[in-house]
């Protein structure tokens, strides 16, 4: 082979080749996130979960209405007695009713299925050879889970607000500390509460994602995550376990009510956010360690 031949061949087979010079672009890397969000929120399963969540405030609102028509006002759980005076309290009531079980369960379905579902369907291997990049894919999946938490919280809040407006009077909001604030400020506080609820779910999302990296079955990962959520809630309710309860992720969840005081009582809110951050870091790094080293054979 002559030198000229060698050079021609190196050019043909060398760096550029058929596929040309293609470098990853940071902006183009966001394409997967956009696609993931679109895929998640157009999926029928997601829409069903959101629809079920949207029904909860309707049921609560009707129940309160029927109860008070009975000549009721028998106390009941936090906020419920306040709903009859101000429809805005239906937002707080509904979030308090869905945060312990419904919201984390819906999130467990989305987060638990995130990696395991793709592995089970075999689509994971094609994403990885695309190449999505394991760290990037994990981050995208976590971001989608957080987006779902926020969407689910906002759906509950919006549905509650609509039902509240339709069934109950509106007006000045009397906070839990007894001070009255204008309706618009009450609305802002409702928004802050929704944000706090969504943030309270970041730990569960990380937990679900970690479970999702452990198995190749989406159903198994969803069931395990739901099981863990329920177990944590049960443990948090057993008085004998008071010593470990401050470390359980749902322990400070209902602290969002402290946003409805004047002045706002921050201690438990801070504990809640700190605890969620610990869970996110712990299970986030565990998920990363597991997923970046795992053999993908499905």
């Amino acid at each position: 082979m002559s030198r000229a031949d060698t050079r021609a061949d190196t050019q043909a087979d060398g760096e550029l080749g058929v596929s040309g010079d293609r470098a990853p672009r940071p902006l183009w890397s966001l394409g997967l996130l956009r696609n993931e969000l679109g895929t998640t929120f157009r999926r029928r399963r997601t829409l069903m979960l959101l629809a079920v969540l949207a029904c909860v405030p309707v049921l609560v609102g009707i129940a309160v209405r029927v109860q008070t028509a009975d000549g009721g006002g028998r106390g009941g759980p936090a906020f419920i007695s306040l709903v009859t005076n101000n429809g805005l309290f239906l937002v707080f009531t509904s979030l308090a009713a869905t945060l312990p079980v419904f919201l984390p369960m819906a999130l467990a379905v989305v987060a638990g299925d995130a990696i395991a579902g793709e592995a089970g369907a075999g689509t994971l291997r094609y994403l990885l050879v695309a190449p999505a990049g394991r760290t990037r894919l994990l981050l995208v999946k976590y971001a989608a889970a957080l987006a779902f938490s926020l969407a689910a919280t906002l759906v509950v809040a919006a549905s509650a607000l609509i039902v509240g407006v339709l069934l109950f009077p509106l007006g000045e909001v009397t906070l839990l500390s007894g001070t009255a604030v204008p309706f618009t400020e009450g609305l802002l506080r409702a928004l802050a509460v929704a944000g706090m609820v969504a943030l309270s779910l970041t730990g569960v999302a990380a937990l679900g994602l970690f479970v999702s990296t452990l198995t190749g079955s989406g159903i198994a990962a969803m069931a395990t995550t739901v099981g863990l959520v329920l177990t944590a809630q049960i443990l948090d309710a057993l008085p004998q376990l008071a010593a470990v309860q401050p470390y359980l992720f749902p322990h400070y969840w209902l602290s969002f009510a402290d946003l409805l005081r004047d002045p706002v009582y921050w201690d438990d809110i801070r504990s809640n956010l700190g605890l969620q951050a610990v869970y996110v870091l712990l299970f986030g790094s565990a998920a990363w360690a597991r997923f970046t080293t795992r053999d993908i054979t499905a």
Binding site: V18, L32, R43, G122, R125
Partner: protein, 317 residues
């Protein structure tokens, strides 16, 4: 020739604890070749491909793809490779088109401005344009296979790795895939394809490697592999008994008589070549054997394959 497009050194993979699925694999795939990767079920073809694509970590050894180490250079190398691994995998709830859009979005080197056009072109290339709007759940096996191929063709690629690409396709589909592979190779894409269908490999491949029980038995050009197995001589004559006697005297082995046909394996010649069939024919005629037809049969790749991996078609445990 440039450097090999795929090069492995002592590539080994053991799943859990047990016999290695792939052991000490030294594979070298020349640039521009259509490389057939052969082996019985369970011989380690898919395992090798998974290691090449960085899906599983080798237990020992390493691989270089397009001159770069894998999986270290995965981010640079993989965008230049299209792959079909162990059949297609699709999102059943998405349309065929949406499936491709998603896989393309996963590639950080894929330009979103040309995405729609490239997806359309890939769908047309595999003959799925008409079914692009259908949910993938409703696709037939062959349609899924085509969509999987389309995903591998979203970009111009330097290397295509296709694990049993014609699985589930109708004869027409197989023909189209063969044509497609040739076309891509003509454009300068190296194609690495695993298959059980030996005549298919023989028809399209320039090079081949044969695996058995996780080990590489042989690799080289298809012509070279076929030449390795000896040809057979076939004589049609009413005088079969005489023909068998004469041919045996001339060193032919494994003589088989079926009706008026005698076939036998040509002996290796002293200087490496086989005996000249013309001499054999003359000997038959001189001995009064009435020869109606006479010829040699080239060994098929199947003969080579069976000779190398053993007659049995059982999966090695």
């Amino acid at each position: 020739m440039g450097p090999p497009v795929i090069e492995t050194r002592g590539l080994t993979k053991t799943y859990g604890s047990g016999r290695p699925a792939v052991e000490g694999l030294d594979l070298s795939v020349p640039a521009g070749s259509i490389f057939g990767f052969l082996g019985p079920n369970g011989s380690g073809k898919t395992t090798t491909i998974r290691m090449l694509m960085g899906l599983i970590q080798p237990t020992a050894g390493g691989a270089r793809l397009l001159g770069e180490p894998m999986p270290a250079a995965a981010r640079r190398v993989l965008p230049r490779i299209g792959a079909l691994i162990e059949g297609p995998a699709l999102y059943g709830f998405l349309t065929g088109r949406a499936n491709l859009l998603r896989y393309d979005a996963a590639d950080p080197t894929a330009d979103p401005r040309t995405r729609a056009a490239r997806v359309t072109a890939a769908l047309e290339r595999v003959g799925l344009a008409a079914a692009a709007g259908k949910r993938a759940r409703a696709y037939s096996l062959g349609m899924k296979q085509r969509l999987g191929l389309a995903a591998a063709l979203l970009q111009p690629r330097d290397l295509l790795i296709l694990d049993e690409p014609t699985n589930g396709l109708d004869p027409q589909g197989m023909r189209e895939i063969r044509g497609l592979v040739r076309e891509l190779a003509a454009d300068g894409t190296t194609v690495f394809l695993s298959s059980h269908l030996l005549d298919e490999i023989e028809q399209v491949c320039t090079h081949a490697a044969v695996m058995s029980s996780g080990r590489l038995i042989t690799q080289g050009t298809v012509a070279g592999l076929a030449a390795g197995a000896r040809g057979r001589l076939a004589v049609t004559t009413p005088d079969t008994a005489d023909a068998v006697r004469i041919l045996k005297e001339h060193g032919l082995a494994d003589l088989v008589v079926t009706g008026d046909r005698v076939t036998g394996e040509l002996p290796p010649g002293t200087d490496g070549g086989e005996p000249d069939p013309a001499d054999l024919n003359a000997a038959l005629v001189v001995a009064g054997v009435r020869v109606r037809a006479f010829g040699t049969e080239r060994p098929s790749l199947e003969d080579v394959f069976v000779a190398l991996t053993g007659e049995g078609f059982d999966v090695a445990g």
